[in-house]
C-alpha cells in the first residue's frame, strides 16, 4: 500500500463526505422523508462513512508505523535515546513531499530510532493563489495526530448524530416555543427545523475536519472561520429566543476579537517568511521550499528553535538598507554581506520579538476559539444551542480546535509565548472552575467545566507538556461529549435545566445515571494509582506531572502547579455536586420526577459507546498501542528537549516532557491528583449526599464570595462596562451625529435644491408658459376679432377692397416721393 497517496485520498474523502451531505440537505432537506426525517439519515450516513474512512486511514497508518511502547512504557519509562539522531538523520518531511511514494522505507527508518522529524505527509490539492514564491493552497498535512483527530472527531460526531436524530424529534412537526414571549402574550408557533439542524451539523463536521487536515495556516484560518459560522448557526438554532440569538452573536463577536490577533500572527509569518505551510514543499522548479516548521527549527540547529532568516532580515531592515547603500553598484556583494551578517544579527536577538508576536498572534485566535481568559465569556452562553451541539461543537471538537492549533503550531511558539499560554490556561481553569461550583444550570456547570478543562490543556501545552495537552484534548473530547449527552438525556426527560428541580433520577434513568457517573469519574481522573484508571486519570496525571516538573524547574512559577492541583479538586467537587444533585438522593420536584423517563435507545447507545471510550481511551493495549503513544509519533521535531526563554519574563526553562515521567515527579503528581480528586468528591458527598454540611449554610457564610461566583466574577458586567457600553455610547454618538448633523446637512442640501427647483418651476410656469400662452391668447383674440370682419356680405367685401385700394393709393401718394412734387 502506498501510504503517502492513499492517506490523503482516504482522509480527503472523509473530509468531503459531510460537505456532500450538507449540500444535499441544503437543497433537498425538507423533501427527505416525512417532514425531513431523512435528513438525519443522510447526515448520519455521511459521518459514518467518514468514520469508516478515518478508521481505514488509521489502520493503514498503524500498519506502516506501528505504535511501540517506547514512550510511555509503564507510565514512567524514559523517553528513549531521543536526542541521538538529530543531526545525522536527514529524514525530514520534505523527503516525503519530494519523493512522494516511499513512505514505507522511511517508516522503517522512523521506527528504528527515535527520528528527529515526525513522519508526516503533505501536499496540495488545489492552489488558491500563486505569485512568485508566495503560494496559498488547499492542502494536507497528515501525521499521526491528524489521523487520530479524524477518528476522534468522526467517532464522536457519529455518536452525536445518532443521538440527535432522536433528541431533535420535536423539530419534526410544528413547534410551540414556550421560551419565546410574544408581545401579545400568546405562544410562538413555527415549523420544525429538523433538516436545518443536520445541515449545520454536516457543515460543521466538514469544517472541523478541514482544520485538522489543513496543510497550511491560511487553510486553517479558512476553516477556523467556517466552524465559527457553524457555531453561530447552531447556537442560534432557536433564534426566535432573544437569549439564543444574543448568545450566537456574542460567540461570533468574541471570536472575531481573537481572530483579529490571529490575523496579526498570520501577517507576521506571511510578511516575514513568505509561507504559511507547515511542511516543506517543492516548487515548480523542483526546489525544496522550507515550511514553517523547518524554518523555525531547521536541521542545522538540530531542530532547536531559532529565529528564521526572514524574520532576522525583517528586523534588521535598516541595517540591510545601510549595506545596500554601501554596495550601491554591486547587488551581489550586498547580498553576500547580508548573508554574512545574518548570524551575527541573529546572535544579537534580532527578530525574536517578531517570532514571539507571530506565536502570540496565533494563540490569540486560539484564546477566542478555545474560550480562554479573557475571551471565555461566550462559551457558557453558547449552551443556548441544542444539547447535541453543546456536546459536539462546544465541548469536544470546535473549542478543542484552539488547543489543537497550539499543538500543531507548537514548534513555532517561543518559550515566552508558551509561558503566556500557560498563565492564560491557569487563570482560565481557576476562574471557570470556581464559577462551576455555584452554577445551578446543568449545562452551565458542564460549560464552565469545559472552559476549565481547556485551560488545563493550554496550561499543559504552555509548560512544555505537548503530549499531555493533546492527550487530554482527546480524552476530554470523549468524556465531555458523554457528559453533555447525558445532561441532554436528563433535560430531555425533565424538560428543565435547573438541577435544583432534579434529584433521585438514578432510579428512573439508570443508563443515563450510570454513564454520567462514568463521565464524572473520567473527568476527575479517577483510577487506582499506578494500576489502572479512566482515561482522565492518564491525561490529567501527565498534565500534573508536567506542571509539577515546570514548577520545580522554575520555582518562581510555582503557582502553575497549584492552579492545576487546586483545579483538580474543584473539578471533582463540582462534577460530583452535579451528579449528586441530579441523580442521588430523593426527588426535589415530584412533578418533574414523575414525568421523567429513560431516553430511547437511539440516545442511550451513543452514551454507552462514549462511556466505554471514556474509560479505555487512556489504556495501553498489550501490543503497546495507546492514544498517547500514537500522538507521540507526531511530536514536532525538537520539541522534546529542554528550552530556555526569557524575553518577556525573567529567565526560565521549559523542561523536556519525558522528564516528567521520572518517578520523583510522576509519583508525586499521581498522588496529588488522586488525593485532590478524592477530597473534592468527599466534600461533594458531605454536602449533597450525607448532608453533613448544608450547602445553603456554606453559601450564607461566604455570601460575598458566593455572590461573586454566582455573578461569574462579574465578567459580563465588566465587559459590558469596559467595552459594550463605551461602544454603544460611541455608536449612539455616531448615530446622533448621523441623524443630527449629516442628515441635517443632506436635508439642507435637498431643501436648497427644492427651493431652486421651486424658483425654476415658477419661472417656467409664469414666464415661459405665460409667454407662450400670451402669444396663443393674442392670436386667439385677434382671430376672434378678425372673424367679425368675415361677414359673408359680398358687397361689404367689395367696399373693403375699394376702400383698401383708395387707402393704399392715398398712403402711397403720401409715402412715396413723386417727381410731381419736385
Amino acid at each position: 500500500m502506498e501510504l503517502p497517496s492513499v492517506l490523503p485520498t482516504l482522509l480527503g474523502l472523509a473530509w468531503l463526505v459531510p460537505l456532500a451531505s450538507f449540500v444535499a440537505i441544503l437543497f433537498a432537506g425538507p423533501r427527505m422523508g416525512h417532514h425531513g426525517r431523512g435528513a438525519a439519515r443522510v447526515a448520519t450516513a455521511a459521518i459514518v462513512t467518514s468514520l469508516v474512512l478515518s478508521l481505514a486511514a488509521m489502520v493503514g497508518w498503524l500498519s506502516q508505523h506501528p505504535v511501540r511502547n517506547a514512550v510511555h512504557g509503564g507510565h514512567a519509562a524514559a523517553h528513549g535515546s531521543a536526542d541521538g539522531g538529530h543531526g545525522s538523520d536527514a529524514h525530514s518531511s520534505s523527503d516525503h513531499v519530494a519523493s512522494g511514494h516511499d513512505g514505507g522505507s522511511h517508516a522503517a527508518d522512523h521506527d528504528a530510532g527515535h527520528a528527529a522529524s515526525p513522519v508526516a505527509y503533505s501536499g496540495d490539492w488545489y492552489t488558491l493563489y500563486e505569485g512568485g514564491r508566495l503560494k496559498l493552497s488547499i492542502g494536507w498535512y497528515i501525521d499521526a495526530l491528524t489521523v487520530l483527530m479524524f477518528v476522534m472527531i468522526t467517532f464522536i460526531a457519529t455518536c452525536i448524530h445518532i443521538y440527535a436524530s432522536d433528541y431533535m424529534h420535536d423539530e419534526l412537526h410544528d413547534v410551540e416555543d414556550h421560551e419565546v414571549h410574544l408581545a401579545g402574550g400568546g405562544h410562538f408557533h413555527r415549523p420544525g427545523r429538523y433538516p436545518r439542524f443536520f445541515q449545520a451539523l454536516s457543515l460543521f463536521c466538514f469544517s472541523m475536519l478541514g482544520i485538522v487536515i489543513a496543510g497550511n495556516l491560511a487553510m486553517v484560518f479558512i476553516f477556523w472561520e467556517l466552524v465559527g459560522i457553524c457555531s453561530w448557526f447552531l447556537i442560534g438554532f432557536y433564534y426566535e429566543r432573544k437569549s439564543a440569538s444574543n448568545a450566537a452573536n456574542k460567540a461570533f463577536i468574541v471570536n472575531r476579537i481573537g481572530d483579529f490577533g490571529m490575523l496579526i500572527g498570520l501577517m507576521a509569518l506571511w510578511g516575514a517568511l513568505g509561507t504559511l505551510n507547515f511542511a516543506d514543499t517543492t516548487d515548480r522548479a523542483g526546489d525544496s521550499q522550507p515550511g514553517l516548521f523547518s524554518l523555525v527549527r531547521p536541521t542545522v540547529t538540530e531542530h532547536a528553535q531559532w529565529v528564521p532568516d526572514g524574520m532576522v532580515k525583517f528586523a534588521a531592515a535598516d541595517r540591510i538598507a545601510v549595506i545596500v547603500r554601501k554596495h550601491a553598484g554591486d547587488p551581489r556583494a550586498a547580498v553576500d554581506e547580508v548573508e554574512e551578517q545574518l548570524d551575527t544579527w541573529r546572535g544579537e536577538g534580532l527578530g525574536r520579538w517578531l517570532l514571539l508576536v507571530a506565536g502570540l498572534g496565533i494563540f490569540c485566535g486560539c484564546v477566542g476559539k478555545s474560550a480562554q481568559f479573557p475571551l471565555f465569556v461566550w462559551l457558557p452562553d453558547a449552551m443556548e444551542g441544542p444539547t447535541p451541539v453543546s456536546a459536539l461543537v462546544h465541548s469536544a471538537t470546535m473549542v478543542a480546535a484552539g488547543v489543537y492549533l497550539v499543538g500543531r503550531f507548537y514548534p513555532v511558539l517561543t518559550p515566552d509565548a508558551l509561558l503566556v499560554i500557560a498563565y492564560v490556561g491557569a487563570i482560565t481553569l481557576f476562574i471557570s472552575a470556581t464559577i462551576a461550583l455555584v452554577a445551578n444550570d446543568i449545562k452551565r456547570v458542564l460549560a464552565y467545566s469545559t472552559v476549565s478543562q481547556l485551560g488545563y490543556m493550554m496550561l499543559a501545552l504552555g509548560v512544555g507538556g505537548w503530549l499531555a495537552g493533546l492527550f487530554h484534548l482527546v480524552t476530554h473530547a470523549f468524556f465531555k461529549s458523554l457528559l453533555f449527552l447525558c445532561s441532554g438525556s436528563v433535560i430531555h426527560a425533565c424538560h428543565t435545566n435547573d438541577m435544583r428541580k432534579m434529584g433521585g433520577l438514578r432510579r428512573v434513568m439508570p443508563w443515563t445515571a450510570g454513564t454520567m457517573l462514568v463521565g464524572c469519574l473520567a473527568i476527575i481522573g479517577a483510577g487506582v494509582p499506578f494500576v489502572i484508571g479512566t482515561s482522565g486519570y492518564y491525561s490529567k496525571d501527565s498534565i500534573l506531572a508536567q506542571a509539577l516538573l515546570f514548577s520545580r524547574t522554575n520555582p518562581a512559577h510555582w503557582i502553575l502547579f497549584y492552579a492545576v492541583a487546586g483545579g483538580a479538586m474543584l473539578t471533582a467537587f463540582y462534577m460530583f455536586r452535579l451528579w449528586f444533585m441530579t441523580f442521588a438522593g430523593e426527588p426535589r420536584d415530584h412533578h418533574v420526577h414523575e414525568h421523567a423517563h429513560e431516553s430511547p435507545p437511539a440516545m442511550v447507545y451513543p452514551l454507552v459507546a462514549l462511556a466505554v471510550l471514556a474509560v479505555i481511551a487512556g489504556w495501553t493495549l498489550p501490543g503497546g498501542f495507546s492514544i498517547a503513544n500514537m500522538i507521540e509519533q507526531a511530536r514536532p521535531a525538537g520539541t522534546g528537549a529542554e528550552e530556555a526563554g526569557g524575553l518577556l519574563f525573567n529567565s526560565f526553562t521549559i523542561p523536556a516532557e519525558h522528564e516528567s515521567h521520572e518517578g520523583s515527579v510522576h509519583v508525586v503528581a499521581t498522588w496529588t491528583a488522586f488525593l485532590t480528586a478524592a477530597a473534592g468528591v468527599f466534600l461533594a458527598a458531605l454536602m449533597y449526599v450525607w448532608k453533613v454540611i448544608s450547602p445553603s449554610m456554606v453559601a450564607a457564610v461566604f455570601s460575598p464570595l458566593t455572590a461573586f461566583l454566582v455573578n461569574r466574577w462579574y465578567f459580563d458586567e465588566l465587559y459590558a462596562f469596559l467595552f459594550v457600553k463605551p461602544i454603544l455610547a460611541v455608536s449612539r454618538l455616531a448615530s446622533d451625529t448621523d441623524k443630527g448633523v449629516i442628515d441635517k446637512i443632506i436635508d439642507g442640501i435637498a431643501w436648497g435644491a427644492r427651493q431652486v427647483a421651486g424658483i425654476d418651476s415658477w419661472i417656467d410656469r409664469n414666464l415661459i408658459d405665460g409667454l407662450v400662452n400670451a402669444t396663443a391668447a393674442t392670436t386667439w383674440s385677434a382671430g376672434l376679432e378678425l372673424r367679425k370682419l368675415q361677414t359673408g356680405h359680398l358687397r361689404q367685401y367689395i367696399m373693403f377692397i375699394v376702400l383698401g385700394t383708395v387707402a393704399l393709393f392715398v398712403l402711397a401718394s403720401m409715402l412715396f416721393r413723386s417727381t410731381l412734387a419736385g
Binding site: L786, R787, K788, L789, Q790, T791, G792, H793, L794, R795, I798, M799, V802, S813, M814, L815, F816, R817, S818, T819, L820, A821, G822
Partner: protein
C-alpha cells in the same frame, strides 16, 4: 410741367422712394388745376372716361344686391381698365415716339377681355348654382361662409 404730366412715363419714371415721407401733403394737387374741357383730346380724357367707368363699375358692385348686377359692375371695372390700357398704348397718344411695336396695351386688353369672358362664365355658373340652392340671386343672402 404740363408735358411731363402728359408723358406716358409719368408713373414709371416719376415715382421713386425717397427718404422724406411727406415732401408735400398731396403731390398730385396740381392735377386739380387741369381743365379737360379746354385741353385737346389726349390720354387724360381717355383716363377720365376709364375712371368714370371704373367708378361706376365699383359702385355697381358695391350697391347691387342682384348678383347679375354685380357681374355687370365687374364688366364695367374691367372695361374701364381696358380703356386705360388702350389709351396708354396708342402711338398717337404718346408724344415721344418711343420705338415700340405699339401693341402691348391692346394685347393686355385682349387678355383682359378673355379673362373677363372666363370669369363671367364661372361667375354665372356660381350664380346659377346659388339660385338653384337658394331660389334667389340676392347676394346678401349668400352669407354661408361668414366667419
Amino acid at each position: 410741367m404740363g408735358e411731363s404730366i402728359l408723358s406716358g412715363t409719368v408713373f414709371a419714371a416719376g415715382i421713386s422712394v425717397g427718404p422724406a415721407i411727406l415732401p408735400g401733403i398731396f403731390p398730385l394737387a396740381p392735377l386739380l388745376a387741369f381743365n379737360p374741357f379746354t385741353e385737346p383730346v389726349g390720354v387724360i380724357h381717355y383716363m377720365i372716361v376709364g375712371a368714370v367707368m371704373f367708378t361706376a363699375g365699383v359702385v355697381c358692385m358695391a350697391l347691387k344686391r342682384n348678383a347679375l348686377g354685380v357681374l355687370m359692375g365687374i364688366e364695367l371695372v374691367l372695361n374701364g381698365a381696358n380703356i386705360n390700357f388702350i389709351a396708354f398704348s396708342s402711338p398717337y397718344l404718346r408724344g415721344d415716339g418711343a420705338p415700340t411695336l405699339g401693341l402691348d396695351g391692346q394685347l393686355i386688353a385682349l387678355f383682359v377681355i378673355l379673362l373677363a369672358a372666363a370669369e363671367a362664365a364661372v361667375a354665372l355658373a356660381i350664380t346659377l348654382n346659388f339660385y338653384n340652392n337658394h331660389a334667389t340671386v340676392d347676394i346678401d343672402r349668400a352669407d354661408d361662409l361668414k366667419g
